[in-house]
């Protein structure tokens, strides 16, 4: 037995059956426990130090109880109904949660490398450690994009593996750096501290991570067949990385105190959920572009070498649909959460703020995409163009509204 098959067997065991189910329910229990702490615990939810509330003894007790209850539920459930062990939901979702746990562990390790408290000043944030990890993420993502592009012209499996692994490394670097930033924001002053989803720079990093993660999930599912599409996804990400570097160079990457309107737990739900939508739409756009490129190459010269490693037109069509299918419910939920937040903070569910109007446009575009496909059987070139155009509108909703239009969402703009 070779090392690879042994390794994959361990993964198979861990991500399937009893182990996966136990872990799945343990994570669910953890989330439920922390949510219960925020809602019902005596200290309740402390906006100024929620991170440390989770990491304190109180968090350990509430979260740990949740984990134990979850494990117990899984054990009892799988005994009563062994069919649960075959469920694919647990096996599909657990790797994502494991990845999240790994990011938390990495962030804890990075925290050891922070400069001494006396060296940390709000005025000069350049000595903070997260900045270096974000720079590593930038390099990894750009390298990954180059490797994916190289794979198009030199389809060696080694090049493909390097591309995939550097994308994974970039995701973990970015995710752990964001978590570390959450911790760093408290180092200046407990009042400044906030979740790292508050300005354009931070959400950009989150967008890269989610885009790359959605793509890698699809790549894993479709094995190497989807790899040529990576060139399109990671090029989009790399373009964003340059924008992020520019943002940082003009001082937009600094941690700033949060305006009162944003000091709410809703921000921690609404913003990440939105970016799950945006990231998935970015992958759909890349699949659409790959479709159009393949279509064009087939029309011009049916025997181009590159066509061999491209997924077939049908597969690209499916990949675009899958990504939209991931993004659309996330975007719907994000909009609903946003409306709930607006009802609480501004007194009305919907105030036709430019951002809201554009979010509605984006929602309608992708709703129409799914409707045309699912109910009317549209597919192929028209929908590939649709996915590309839809992403341009999404980008306007994300960036254009912040930069060119004013309104209630104006804290997302450059300052």
């Amino acid at each position: 037995m070779t090392a690879t098959t042994l390794e994959s067997n361990i993964w198979e065991t861990l991500n399937r059956g009893r182990w996966a189910l136990m872990r799945f329910y343990a994570y669910l229990g953890l989330i439920a426990g922390i949510s219960a702490m925020a809602m019902y615990a005596p200290g309740g939810y402390d906006e100024d130090a929620f991170l440390y509330q989770i990491l304190s003894m109180q968090g350990v007790i509430w979260g740990g109880t949740g984990v134990l209850l979850g494990c117990g539920l899984a054990a009892v459930g799988s005994t009563i109904k062994p069919g649960l062990l075959e469920s694919r939901t647990a096996g599909n979702i657990v790797p994502w949660l494991d990845g999240g746990t790994l990011m938390v562990i990495l962030a804890c390790i990075w925290a050891l490398f922070e400069p001494a408290q006396s060296a940390i000043t709000y005025e000069d944030q350049s000595n903070l450690f997260a900045g270096r990890i974000i720079m590593a993420m930038n390099v990894l993502f750009i390298f990954s994009a180059i490797a994916y592009l190289a794979y198009l012209f030199a389809p060696e499996s080694f090049v493909g593996r390097v591309a995939t692994w550097s994308a994974y490394a970039g995701i973990y670097a970015g995710g752990s750096a964001l978590l570390l930033r959450w911790h760093e924001s408290y180092l200046f002053d407990m009042d400044i501290g906030h979740a790292p989803v508050a300005n354009l720079y931070e959400v950009f990093i989150m967008l890269f991570i989610i885009t790359a993660a959605v793509y890698l999930a699809l790549e894993k599912r479709y094995h190497a067949k989807a790899k040529a599409m990576g060139a399109f996804v990671m090029t989009l990400v790399a373009a964003g990385v340059f924008y992020g570097i520019w943002l940082n160079s003009i001082g937009q990457g600094d941690i700033k105190p949060l305006v009162p309107a944003l000091q709410s737990y809703w921000m921690k739900l609404h913003v990440p959920m939105n970016f799950v939508g945006y990231g998935a739409f970015a992958v759909a756009c890349a699949a659409g572009m790959a479709y159009l490129v393949r279509h064009w190459m087939e029309g011009r010269n049916g025997e181009a070498k590159m066509l061999k490693i491209f997924p077939s037109l049908d597969q690209l069509d499916q990949l675009a649909h899958k990504s939209v299918a991931i993004g659309f419910p996330a975007f719907t939920l994000a909009t609903i959460l946003g409306a709930a937040w607006a009802a609480e903070a501004w007194g009305g569910y919907w105030s036709w703020d430019p951002k809201e109007t554009w979010a509605l446009i984006v929602w309608l575009i992708y709703g129409a995409y799914l409707h045309a496909r699912v109910s009317h059987g549209w597919h192929g070139k028209a929908l590939a163009w649709w996915a590309v155009a839809g992403f341009l509108v999404t980008m306007f909703c994300f960036l254009g509204v912040n930069m060119y239009l004013s309104g209630l969402h104006s804290y997302g703009r450059l300052s």
Binding site: F328, P329, V374, G377
Partner: protein
């Protein structure tokens, strides 16, 4: 305040020279500005004087108060000076009482729970609409003398593309399984 060089960092304050403690003087200044605005392009000496007289009439009627001359001079000077200042300029009162206020908005929404339920149903409906397969399959097994005739048929109202694939896979599996018998 006025920026002599046009640079935003270079603002200097320039006084209008009118006595703001007298509300009538401020009124006169405004009335004069108003009249000047109305005469438009006829910028002769006479027109300005007429405008000033009109403004005095607007504010005081037919009898100007005592010691009007100083007030009139100050107003004339201020209005004459304004067009000579370079742009950009910012009008700034040098002394004023800041009045603070707070706007409070109250919203009461007894139907919030219904909105939550509606949102949940909306999300659920979307999932049913777009992600649940709506499929019908028929497998007809009919004995025909010595053979058995098997017909696999299917229909999907939603997502026909995915159904084509699934049906194809099913057909191939069926054929493989039967070939083993």
């Amino acid at each position: 305040m006025v920026s002599m060089t046009g640079d935003s960092a270079d603002y200097q304050s320039v006084g209008l020279g009118i006595d703001l403690t007298n509300p009538k003087e401020w009124e006169l200044f405004h009335a004069f500005m108003d009249r000047m605005g109305k005469i438009g392009d006829k910028k002769s000496e006479n027109a300005s004087v007429e405008a000033f007289q009109e403004a005095v009439k607007d504010v005081f009627g037919d009898k100007p108060p005592e010691r009007f001359e100083n007030m009139g001079m100050r107003t004339l000077n201020a209005v004459n000076m304004l067009p000579q200042l370079p742009w950009p300029k910012l009008p700034m009162p040098s002394e004023y009482n800041q009045v603070y206020y707070t706007g409070l908005q109250l919203a009461r929404d007894p139907g919030m729970n219904i909105v939550w339920i509606g949102s949940a149903i909306l999300t659920l409906g979307l999932c049913i609409m777009f992600y649940m397969p709506h499929r019908k399959l028929w497998l007809i097994i009919r004995p025909e003398s010595k053979k058995t005739n098997i017909i696999l048929a299917g229909m999907a109202t939603r997502n026909p593309i995915a159904f084509d694939l699934a049906f194809h896979d099913l057909l191939i599996k069926l054929e493989e399984d039967f070939s083993k018998i």
